[in-house]
Amino acid sequence: MTNTVNKIMPTAKPFSLSSSRSLNTQAYRFFGWVLPPIFGLFLLVVIWALIAEHTPELPGPIKTWVSAVELFSDPFYDHGINDKGVGWNILASLQRVGLGFGLAALIGIPLGFIIGRFEFVARMTAPVISLLRPVSPLAWLPIGLLVFKAANPAAIWVIFISAVWPMIINTAVGVSKVPQDYMNVAKVLNLSEWKIVTKILFPFVLPYMMTGVRLSIGVAWLVIVAAEMLTGGVGIGFWVWDEWNNLNVEHIIIAIFIVGIVGLLLELMLTQIAKRFSYE
């Protein structure tokens, strides 16, 4: 009998203790983590409302909200090539970014490995990379239009060229940072180049690579809006331009929020993936 009591008692006590403690941490989390961002966003809306109050052309938050509700009540309508719902436009942009970004990963990551692994290639590519990397992505658009003779591939090309640099550079930096100790292990164990890549380089470089991928998707999403403004067609960038021509300022402001939110979601998604891949 006493035995069972002893068994129950110690579990019962810490339980009540820990539940009150977790209540405390919950409160702390709420005030420390949730409140400040909400307050920040609230401040943004207030400032926006104040400015709108004194600028008749700029719609205020409430007007914009009403317009947004209306807009998102039917995001996937289709009235011909130049009048599609906002959902289609977002999807079109995402598809371009996905393609350009995917191609950039397909080429940039292996290239980064080669550059990091072989000193000669690194020296060879260094001047080319430092020359081309600072060029504004949009400067590549005319080349794309010239070569592909169509707007859509040209936009994808611009995404590719802007997304490829962070992936090449971060992967190469990762490879060059592999500790000499690990390479000595590879030498002493006489590992094949394939094993070196799969068992040592790749796992070590993965976090660096994911940083590159994250930077890339950020840049790609930044660039797509500008590129689509220039190329036209369907896409969130073109939509902004179209609404500007219609002088529908509410929709432009909504577009700004959409671009921001989608960019944030992309970033969050990749951060989650990166966390899964880290070995620590």
Partner: protein, 267 residues
């Protein structure tokens, strides 16, 4: 080409090592001559920075000498080889692989003709030898420093090397863990009978484990100052030796070399 000779299993002949650094050349080793017998346990002792790791890396084939020749089993050392396994100064396990996978990586390469089951059996055997069967599926950051060093030893032993090279294998461990691992290493070496070269800066460790203690002078241009024969019978028991006259005599010989004749000038 010299014949393989049991008395000259590992040979270092007039080995010089000069590094090219940003500030010009640095002569680390000068005129190293050493013959190591088959099955012998050699310790290399000397002050920090004198070039002990460099000697070991030369034997491992990770470095090439600037002058002189190195042989193992009568053949010139041209690079790393599976007959010379290394236990690194800082364990150097791959953090993303489990202990098992770390050892398996070495086994797989050396015994590439065997089946997967045979390779796994070898890996298990090596891990069991160092007493880590229960943690073989853990990652290096989930085990203690002493356990990591054991996995490092298991990885080296699993290759069934002719020569085991150990670079301060117990340097980062507390005294108690170190003593345990030293005892285990003595048992393992007695069983396997392979030749061993161990770098250390611990005088007791050197005398306890070795057949000969190689004492190095200070760098630059470090060389072998003296070689001390340790003729204590094996198996050696730590406690009994603590009061052994011969042991204490040898111990003070090494201490005298390090702290009287080749004392490190205070930096």
């Amino acid at each position: 080409m010299e014949k393989a000779n049991a008395d000259k299993y590992v040979q270092l002949e007039h080995v010089d090592m000069t590094f090219n650094t940003k500030k010009g050349t640095f002569n680390a080793l000068k005129g190293i001559n050493l013959n190591i017998k088959e099955g012998e346990f050699i310790s290399i002792i000397g002050h920090s920075g004198c070039g002990k790791s460099t000697v070991l890396n030369l034997i491992a084939g990770l470095l090439q000498p600037s002058e002189g020749l190195l042989f193992c089993a009568g053949r010139e050392i041209a690079g790393p080889g599976p007959e010379r396994a290394v236990v690194f100064q800082n364990h150097s396990l791959l953090p993303w692989l489990t202990c098992f996978e770390n050892v398996y990586l070495a086994v797989e390469r050396v015994f590439s003709t065997e089946t997967k089951a045979q390779l796994e059996a070898r890996t298990h055997a090596a891990i069991e030898l160092v007493g880590l069967s229960h943690s073989s599926d853990k990652r290096p950051n989930e085990i203690s420093g002493g356990m990591k060093q054991r996995v490092g030893i298991a990885r080296a032993l699993a290759m069934e090397p002719k020569v085991l090279l150990l670079d301060e294998p117990f340097g980062a461990l507390d005294a108690l863990t170190r003593a345990n691992l030293q005892d285990e290493l003595m048992k393992i070496m007695a069983k396997s009978g392979c030749t061993a070269v161990m770098v250390t800066h611990d005088v007791d460790e050197a005398v306890l484990l070795s057949d000969r203690v190689v004492m190095m002078t200070n760098g630059p241009s470090a060389t072998i100052g003296e070689i001390l024969e340790v003729k204590l019978p094996r198996p050696r028991a730590r406690l009994a030796l603590a009061e052994d006259q011969e042991y204490n005599h040898l111990r003070s010989e090494v201490l005298r070399f390090l702290y009287e004749r080749h004392a490190k000038k205070s930096a």
